[in-house]
Symmetry: C2
DNA sequence: TTCACGCTGTGACAAAATTCACAGCTAGGA
DNA sequence: TCCTAGCTGTGAATTTTGTCACAGCGTGAA
């Protein structure tokens, strides 16, 4: 089984390769990709082992071929179909970003239980009522959903999504969801991340000051 | 030095404890906190070692005292002062969320280089022009900033922030930032997280189908 | 055609993170 | 008062993750 961290890095390589290709680069060495991704060359090579793509000692990796291999590994040549639950300010921001087509994420349906929002179309995406979640998703191939509801509702929404056959959840609410072992949850807790950054920021500030004083 | 993962969990415990206290609970055992945080009891105890708080074998941890210890460890009793750069749709969403006072994050200033936005006040936060970043931040105690600009501008913005004395950056742009070793970067790449969740979602779906077939 | 350089792929090793497992303690009951 | 159940705190073992180092290979130069 391939680890979560490896998958994170591989998706990152994908993004970076797209950028490199856009700049006209056709070949790339492990150390170059490593620099872009801020990892070690050995890490890059180790990661690429898992997708089976093999480079050339003299010319390195072929950007296009490597992208193809990654695509095949992730099996999302036609974009990643997702659903969004919770059309608050964060939900709207995500809709407007992903519906602009700047990435390979496709939001096929949005859900909210506010009657003032349901039925409307935002950024080109129709907003369905929560109680139609199962039926609406049944018509799609969605297996991954974004949860942007308040913390208090997140578990309820999650249960509904799991019931509708969703196996991947990106949770923006500051709670830990309870899911069966066949469901993957990625927590994107903004508050928690800021607190973490603030902690290290303070540490580094102090350290920097100390060093300045010692001189 | 205490690890990044430990800090993440500790901030999580803080959130959970706030919730428990709101529900009137005064004492808590490691296995209960562990259940809430979806980690093992040993992990909880191990984590609490680093903040020096010590519980009681018979009554467990005292919710209030533990919160105080955490607060003291993170040293943010008055809230975390931050700045936000990039008032696009994501920036606005974060502003409206954090200015509502639902967490201990305080956004003291926002920045954008769109003249149509600068000077205005959004969700109670004034938007300053980018070229006044250094002067504006000099008047505050901000050491941590949220970067919500498009990928192409993120590095430039980061350099400006670092120049202004910021030591912690929460980066929402899908690029890896280059910073000196005295600056901590937390990447919150939504696209990458969705791709990761989608990958595991697909894996789990397949596995579930397989198992159903075998029966 | 042959050689040599500098890369890749990977087994072995090192470091980091997590879990195990148990000594030691503490409040409540007998 | 003393005993006991069941917790905490922590050294040691285990598992996971990342790095090292080198054999082997492909290309361009001679």
């Amino acid at each position: 089984m391939v680890s979560e961290k490896t998958i994170s890095r591989l998706t990152n390589y994908q993004t970076l390769l797209r950028l490199q290709q856009a700049q006209g680069r056709t070949h790339l060495f492990s150390h170059q990709l490593a620099d872009l991704a801020r990892v070690t060359p050995a890490q890059v090579r180790r990661d690429l082992m898992v997708i089976g793509y093999t480079g050339n000692p003299r010319t390195g990796y072929h950007v296009g071929d490597l992208q193809d291999s990654l695509m095949q590994f992730f099996a999302f040549s036609t974009g990643i179909p997702t659903a969004l639950v919770g059309v608050g300010s964060l939900g709207r921001a995500l809709l407007s970003y992903f519906m602009s087509g700047r990435s390979n994420i496709r939001i096929l349906a949005a859900f909210d239980n506010d009657p003032g929002k349901t039925g409307r179309v935002l950024s080109g995406c129709r907003i369905h009522p929560m109680n139609r979640l199962r039926e609406t998703l049944a018509e799609t191939t969605v297996s991954c959903a974004l949860v942007t509801v308040p913390g208090g509702e997140a578990q309820k929404v999650t249960d509904a999504l799991v019931g509708a056959g969703v196996h991947g959840i990106v949770n923006f609410a500051p709670v830990r969801l309870k899911v069966p072992p066949t469901v993957f949850v990625e927590n994107l807790d903004v508050t928690s991340s800021i607190e973490k950054a603030a902690f290290f920021a303070r540490n580094y500030s102090l350290k920097t000051q100390e060093e300045t004083n010692h001189e």
